[in-house]
Symmetry: C2
Subunit: 319 residues, 2 copies
C-alpha cells in the first residue's frame, strides 16, 4: 500500500465503507513496521472522528454464552438505532493457536445485519501488542460511525486485564452453579467488573439464579470500591431468550452518565492512551533487542549475567 | 549499601549465611535503580556458583494444597540430603494486594529445618518485573548452595506463564472433583505442565482419584507435544499424608535426565536468560517513558494519537 492510498482509505472509512474498514484493520494488525506506520498515519487522518463510541468489554469463561449474549444484545442495540461493531481479544492464541469469533456463523443474524460489523480476532504471537492492535481497530470502527463497540474476550485471566485497558465498561457473564474453584481469577475479574450478568437463567431456574444473585451481591461488598465511583451491579437474564438485555443497556447508559459527569470517563481514556504510548515503545524495543543475548553469549562459553547485557544496552543505546 | 559491601555480601552467600542471602534478595527485589545495579553486580560476583539447582514450579488453584505439598515434599528432599529453597511468585498482588507464602507458619516444620530456606513473596506493583526479580532470587539461592528451588505460584492464569519462564519443570497440583468451569485456563496450564499431581486423594477416596487420573491422562493426549520431548505424567497422592511424594521426586529426576541428555535443558535456560535481557530493558524503558503522553498532551486540547507520540520518541531517543 502506498502513502497516497491512506487518504482514499480514510475517506472510505468515514463514509462507512466496510471493505475500507476491513482493509484498515488488517493493516493495523500487521506486524510489519511499515504497515504499522501507515496505520498510525491513517488513524491520525481520522483522529477527530474517533472517541465517540461506548467501548464495552464482554468477558466470561468458555461456555458461559458470550457469543449468544452478543448476538442478542447487538440485535437489541441495532433495533434501537445504534450501529454496533464486535471485536475480540484473544491472547490465548500465542500458546494454543486458538481464536475466538473465528467462526462467524456463531453470530449469523448479527453478521447479516447492515448496522453491525463483526471482526474475527487476529491470531498471532504479539501478546503484548494484542490490546494495542485491538485499540487501533476500535478507533477505526469509531471513525466508520459505529456507536457501540463490543469487545469479547475468552475468559482466561490475563485477557481481562488487556480488555480492561481499552474499554470504558466491563461486563462479566456468569452462570449459576459455576464452581468456586477459580476464586483467585474470579476475584480479580470481579474487581474489574462494572456489571455482572447471570446468564442462562432459564436453564437453571429462577430460584437458583436468584440465589446466585444474592451470593454475588454479598461478595461484591467485600471488594474495594471502583476508582470510577460506580457501584458494581448484578443482573439476571438469558442471552438466548433475550431476557434482561434491555436492563443491561439501561445500566450501561447509567454507567456512562455517571462516569462522564464525574470526570472518570475522560481520565480513564487518557490513562489508556498513556498505556498505548508505553506499549508501542516497548514493542519496538523488543524487536530491537530480541537477539541481544545471543549476540553477546556466543562470544565465549562463560556464564553470562543477562542483567549486565541489558544494562550495557540501555547505557549505549538510549540517549 | 556501598559497593565494597557487595564483596562481603557475596562471601556471606557463598558460605551459606542466611542473613546475607536474605539481605541480597531484598536488594534484588528493590525497585530503586541503584539497588538493582548493586544486585546485578552481586550476581556477577556469584555467577559461576549459579545454575546448578533444579528449579521447580509448583502451581495450582487456591485450596489445592500447595503449601502442604511443599512442606512435605521439602521435608522428603532434606531427608534425602538436599538443600531446599522455597520462593513465591505472586502477580496478583498488583491488583488485590494479596501475597502468598506471607504466612510462614503455614510451613512451620520446613521453616525450622536447617537445610531449608523459605522466602515469602515480595509484594509490589512491578508486574512485568515479577519473574525477573524472582529469577535473581533463584540465582542467589543457588550461589548459597541450595540444590532444589521450589517456586510456588497462586494459580490465577498469568502467574503460570511467569513461573514457566524461570523454572526447569512445571508441577501442577489438582484435586479430584474440581469443576470444568475453567477449561480455558486449565488447558493453558496443562500445556505447560510436565507433571500433574492429583492431591488430597485420601479426602476423595482412591476410586474417585483413579477416575480423575484416567480422565486427565486421556485429555493430555489431545494437547500438543512439549518442546522438551517429555511426555506429561499424572500421579496420585497426598501432600498432607506424604503419599506419592517419593514418586514425584523420582519423576522429577527422570525429567532432568531426559532434558539434560536431549539438550532441551540448556536451550530452555538460554531462552530464559534471553527473556531476562528483554524484560529488564523494557522495565527501564517503561520508567523513562511513563509520563511521555502527559508531557505531550497538555500542550493543546486536540485529540492526540498516542502512536505518533510513541513513534516520535523512538526516533529521537534510540540510537
Amino acid at each position: 500500500m502506498k502513502k497516497e492510498d491512506i487518504q482514499t482509505l480514510a475517506e472510505g472509512i468515514k463514509s462507512g465503507n466496510r471493505v475500507s474498514l476491513s482493509r484498515a484493520i488488517t493493516l493495523a494488525e500487521s506486524s510489519l513496521e511499515e504497515h504499522q506506520k501507515l496505520a498510525h498515519e491513517l488513524i491520525q487522518e481520522l483522529i477527530s472522528f474517533t472517541g465517540k463510541s461506548k467501548r464495552i468489554a464482554i468477558t466470561g469463561v468458555p461456555g458461559v454464552g458470550k457469543s449468544t449474549f452478543i448476538e442478542s444484545f447487538g440485535k437489541l442495540l441495532t433495533q434501537n438505532g445504534y450501529k454496533v461493531a464486535v471485536l475480540a481479544i484473544d491472547p490465548s492464541s500465542s500458546l494454543s493457536g486458538g481464536s475466538i469469533l473465528g467462526d462467524k456463523t456463531r453470530m449469523e443474524d448479527l453478521a447479516r445485519n447492515p448496522d453491525a460489523y463483526i471482526r474475527p480476532s487476529a491470531t498471532g504471537g504479539h501478546l503484548g501488542g494484542v490490546a494495542s492492535r485491538t485499540y487501533e481497530s476500535v478507533l477505526l470502527c469509531e471513525a466508520a460511525g459505529f456507536d457501540v463497540i463490543l469487545i469479547e474476550t475468552v475468559g482466561v485471566g490475563q485477557s481481562e486485564t488487556l480488555v480492561n485497558d481499552i474499554t470504558d465498561i466491563f461486563i462479566f457473564l456468569q452462570i449459576p452453579g459455576a464452581g468456586d474453584e477459580l476464586q483467585g481469577i474470579k476475584r480479580g475479574i470481579m474487581e474489574m467488573a462494572d456489571l455482572i450478568f447471570v446468564n442462562k437463567v432459564d436453564d437453571f431456574g429462577i430460584d437458583k439464579a436468584k440465589d446466585v444473585k444474592v451470593t454475588l451481591a454479598r461478595s461484591l461488598q467485600f471488594l474495594p470500591q471502583k476508582p470510577s465511583g460506580w457501584k458494581r451491579k448484578v443482573l439476571l437474564g438469558s442471552g438466548l431468550n433475550s431476557k434482561g438485555l434491555a436492563e443491561v443497556w439501561e445500566l450501561v447508559q447509567d454507567y456512562f452518565d455517571t462516569v462522564q459527569s464525574n470526570g472518570y470517563f475522560t481520565e480513564n481514556r487518557k490513562r489508556q492512551d498513556e498505556l498505548r504510548v508505553v506499549e508501542y515503545i516497548k514493542e519496538q524495543i523488543s524487536n530491537r533487542v530480541k537477539n541481544l543475548y545471543k549476540e553477546n553469549s556466543h562470544k565465549d562459553s562463560e556464564l553470562i549475567n543477562p542483567y549486565l547485557i541489558a544494562e550495557k544496552w540501555v547505557k549505549e543505546n538510549l540517549k
